[in-house]
């Protein structure tokens, strides 16, 4: 039985009809067209689908759409505002931390969330924040560098 839910996504309000078994990831991607969050495994192993529910990073493949009725969601598409990209996005470009780009949205969301909680994260904080995020291209070197580099942008 489909249900009507309300979601605020990246500042816009939506009222949509969803199956109770649809994940938030499916709702965002297939119903609302926010394809920035990626599905790498569908069971919370890879981190590519990370979004914020009320500012908290969550793997959206592990949450049902109906569970978050009324929630405020931010996806990677909502991270750049007024055509300005966030500090971690800038730092990813600076450090050459993008390769295939499939894990990138999840990595970016996780690091940006880290900076909202910790102003001066150390290497261990970064690794802790990214331990549930898999990348097969980079060997993580440039991602860690970007996470550190982002500090200069968040300070301002």
């Amino acid at each position: 039985m489909k249900k009507i839910i309300k979601l605020r996504v990246n500042g816009e309000d939506y009222e949509i009809l969803v199956e109770p078994y649809w994940t938030l990831l499916k709702v965002l991607r297939d119903v609302l067209g926010f394809t920035g969050p990626k599905e790498g495994c569908g069971i919370g192993e890879c981190g590519a689908c990370t979004v914020y529910i009320d500012d908290k990073p969550v793997k959206s493949c592990l949450v049902l759409g109906v569970e978050v009725n009324g929630a405020n969601i931010t996806t990677i598409e909502g991270l750049s505002q007024n055509k300005k990209i966030s500090g971690i996005q800038k730092a990813f470009i600076d450090e050459g931390a993008v390769q295939c780009g499939f894990c990138t949205p999840g990595m970016v969301m996780a690091i940006n969330a880290l900076y909202t909680n910790v102003s001066d994260p150390g290497e261990d904080d970064i690794k802790e924040a990214l331990k549930g995020h898999l990348c097969r291209c980079t060997g993580y070197e440039t991602i860690v560098k970007a996470a550190k580099r982002a500090k200069e942008y968040y300070k301002r």
Binding site: I85, I93, Q99, C100, G101, F102, C103, R136, Y140, E141
Partner: protein
């Protein structure tokens, strides 16, 4: 040489779209009136299909069609034609697709798929290549050689292909040797684990034309196979590809596209979409096959290798079509980057009851180097000489002849310098290994050498089109794919250099479409920069030639007196009269108003000229282009209680010719090192007695996380300019994979005094070895 844009910092052209979620991948595509497909997969690893019961499934609401292998019993391929679209006579591995369900929703398709009942007559299974090589009772696939077959199957066996190298006389060489060293090696099967699962969408139009959207490294090869299978002219098959979320070879062979196209054929007018689940990526795509090999080496006391015999078998899975060429790649590097007078190498591709083997970053080279670079250290130890000295006595240098009979030239690169850089970084031979009993730790250093050339057909071609826009900017289209390696960025720089305008003025049009973009064989073998780069230079020459032709009219001088330089066009010695590309882009308007010339487009192509098929009996012949040489090393710390290995430093020195984009090149080498160490330390497909893959999830099949990778990476580029490469560049994207595993095992010996002969070398293996040797 000095370049304006080559070797300079230039940020990835695809970075911003990938960072903002705008970049498009296959799964992001939703088309009107689209249906969803789910594959039916075999529940046993080997057996005849007796009956398939679909009535209950058909009655599920929303189901549109059920397609079975027996509806279209067809084996496709180009080299041996042994790959069914869906299995129809028997299944040869657990999870092999035997058909599919199409429904209005994914859920309906899944519910229906669960209701399909299949009965089998089970057959005995074989999963190890050595066992398959010697087994004549359990024949997984009967193949008889035919004249049009490129592979060489052996009738009555599981061998679907083999290669031979013969130089000199190995037996005579062994007689002359002072010592003989024999070793046997094994490697477990592994999966690519691209974070993006495989997927495709297919749509048949009422006019019989087929469009396929796919996450593929090889849109033109997909088009070729679809046209061949469905008997369509190539211009009735269109393949569209967006960014590939990781390929590593696993999206270059054609697997999912014919399956989805066959499903969609039953519902013309409706696109059918299939995205593999993560489990299906493990048992329903491609693997790097398991590997067994034996090496016998004859050496003089001074370290000169006089004779080497290599025998290996690669598990090919249930179909050999895409695996046999991996053997073709491996055999050319069967003894690594060494000059040896007497060599006999035989490599076999054998059927096994596992998913088919396909391309995997390194293409047979990590496998042969695993054996050879372990063997070199073992030999050095037996002779009591430094492994650096042993290698230097035998490595390929300018003037050396490699095992396929090619003479190494100066421009092929400087392997010795790579070796020197790595051992210097490791501070070799100081402190190469010791045990710290007090702190329950051991430390070791190890290194290994590598070589690789692109494994490709002798005629693997590329092309490129440069189109000038009215404002002097340029659109570049190519058929090679952006799979994360940064090809779009490197090619933009090459076009900029060739045209003499800044890379910001050039747009390499993202995504690929076989109807609109020029031909490319495949995006594999690290050959994109080299092959497509050359095509771009030719296209730029055509652009410049066309501009000269118009400019000679404008300036009333001979064509050869027109200079095209830095975006300006002018008569020799009269730069003040210069006009710009913008003035000529769509035709020039003379002062009186009449137009000359026209819109300028330049097309270029490249084919590796002069390559020939290897001699079938000896493997000799100019069958490999642009070798890249390198050296790799590691420094490790071993926890003597848990066996856990920490990589303190991972080093690569590679002579990849001119480096087009240093940041992205380093990214490729570092990424490859990390991937190779992940594979060497923790990756193995675990197979049950029944032939089922037991670890088909990212929880059970572990790849390195951010906490498991080396603490420090060092990369050195030696830049000996490649004569055949664009601005002196050659291949580098796979090479960081090739010698890391033997470097790690060599370091483990130096740390613990234990010889490892199989991959992976897990922490458990190490802890058991420590226990057995009573090290603690």
């Amino acid at each position: 040489m000095e370049y304006k844009f080559i070797g300079k910092e230039f940020k990835r052209v695809d970075a911003l779209s990938k960072l903002t979620g705008r970049a498009r991948f296959l799964a992001d595509i939703i088309l009107p009136h689209m249906y969803y497909g789910i594959f039916l997969r075999a529940s046993i690893a080997h057996g005849e299909i007796l009956d398939i019961e679909t009535e209950d499934a058909k009655n599920v609401e929303g189901v549109k069609a059920i397609v079975l292998g027996r509806d279209f019993p067809h084996n496709y391929g180009h080299l041996i034609k042994d790959r069914p679209i869906f299995a129809f006579d028997k299944v040869r591995y657990y999870g092999e697709a035997i058909g599919g369900v199409i429904a209005k929703t994914e859920e309906a398709a899944r519910v229906a798929a669960d209701k399909v009942k299949v009965s089998y007559k089970p057959l005995p299974i074989i999963t190890h290549p050595k066992e398959s090589l010697n087994n004549k009772e359990v024949i997984i696939r009967e193949v008889s050689p035919t004249p049009d077959m490129v592979y060489r199957p052996v009738k009555g066996t599981n061998i679907f292909h083999y290669d031979v190298v013969k130089r000199g006389d190995v037996e005579k060489g062994f007689e002359e040797a002072d010592i003989i060293v024999e070793s046997e090696f094994n490697i477990a099967p592994i999966n690519h684990v691209q974070i993006e699962p495989h997927g495709a969408i297919a749509l048949w139009d009422e006019d019989g034309s087929l469009t396929v959207w796919s996450s593929t490294q090889a849109p033109f090869t997909v088009r070729y196979f679809l046209s061949d299978i469905f008997e369509l002219p190539l211009n009735k098959v269109r393949v569209i590809a967006y960014y590939v979320g990781g390929g590593f070879g696993g999206k270059s062979d054609v697997g999912i596209e014919p399956m989805v196209a066959l499903l969609a054929k039953s519902v013309p007018g409706h696109p059918v979409k299939v995205i593999l689940s993560r489990e299906e990526v493990f048992h329903g795509s491609f693997l790097r096959g398991n590997f067994w090999g034996r090496v016998k080496t004859g050496v003089k006391k001074d370290g000169k290798i006089v004779s080497e015999k290599v025998e290996f078998a690669m598990g090919g899975g249930g179909s050999g079509e895409f695996g046999g060429t991996v053997v073709d790649g491996a055999f050319k590097s069967a003894v690594g980057p060494y000059e040896i007078e007497n060599v006999h190498a035989v490599g076999y591709g054998v059927y096994t009851n596992l998913p088919p083997t396909g391309a995997f970053r390194g293409y047979g080279h990590p496998e042969t180097h695993w054996m050879i670079e372990r063997q070199r250290d073992i030999i050095a130890r037996k002779l009591g000489i430094d492994p650096v000295v042993l290698r230097k006595k035998n490595i390929l240098k300018p003037g050396s002849i490699n095992i396929i009979g090619q003479k190494i030239e100066e421009h092929n690169g400087n392997l010795e310098k790579c070796l020197d850089l790595v051992v210097e970084e490791l501070d070799w031979p100081n402190n190469i290994g010791h045990i710290d009993k007090k702190n329950k730790k051991a430390y070791g250093k190890g290194f290994a050498l590598l070589q690789k050339s692109p494994v490709m057909p002798t005629n693997a071609a590329s092309s490129a089109i440069l189109k000038l826009n009215d404002d002097g900017t340029v659109n570049l289209t190519v058929g090679t794919q952006e799979i994360g390696q940064g090809i779009d960025t490197a090619l933009t720089q090459i076009a900029a250099e060739a045209l003499g305008i800044s890379p910001e003025k050039i747009k390499l049009v993202p995504y690929r479409d076989t109807d609109l973009y020029p031909y490319e064989w495949q995006t594999v073998a690290s050959r994109g920069v080299w092959s497509v780069g050359n095509a771009i230079i030719m296209a730029a020459d055509e652009v410049k030639h066309k501009m000269r032709k118009v400019a000679k009219e404008i300036f009333s001088v001979d064509e050869e007196d027109i200079v095209v330089e830095d975006g300006l066009v002018f008569p020799q010695g009269e730069k003040e009269k210069a006009i710009t590309y913008k003035d000529l882009a769509i035709g020039y308007t003379l002062p009186e108003g009449s137009g000359i010339g026209g819109p300028i487009v330049g097309a270029g192509y490249f084919i590796p000229e002069g390559l020939v098929y290897p001699d079938p009996e000896t493997g000799q012949g100019n069958s490999a282009a642009e070798w890249t040489f390198g050296a790799q090393g590691v420094e490790i710390e071993v926890d003597l209680i848990t066996g856990k290995v920490k990589i303190l430093k991972a080093v690569t020195a590679i002579d990849a010719g001119t480096i087009i984009n240093p940041e992205n090149a380093r990214g490729q080498v570092v990424g490859a090192m990390a991937m190779a160490l992940s594979i060497a330390q923790r990756e193995a497909i675990v197979i049950s007695k029944e032939g089922k893959i037991r670890n088909d999830s990212l929880t059970d099949y572990k790849i390195s996380t951010i906490r498991d990778v080396p603490s420090e990476y060092k990369v050195f580029f030696v830049e000996t300019e490649e004569e055949t490469g664009p601005f002196g560049a050659r291949s580098l994207a796979e090479h960081g994979m090739v010698a890391m595993a033997p470097a790690l095992a060599n370091a483990l010996y130096n740390a613990l005094g234990v010889e490892f002969f199989k991959l992976p070398i897990t922490f458990e293996d190490i802890a058991l070895a420590i226990d057995e040797k009573k090290i603690v």
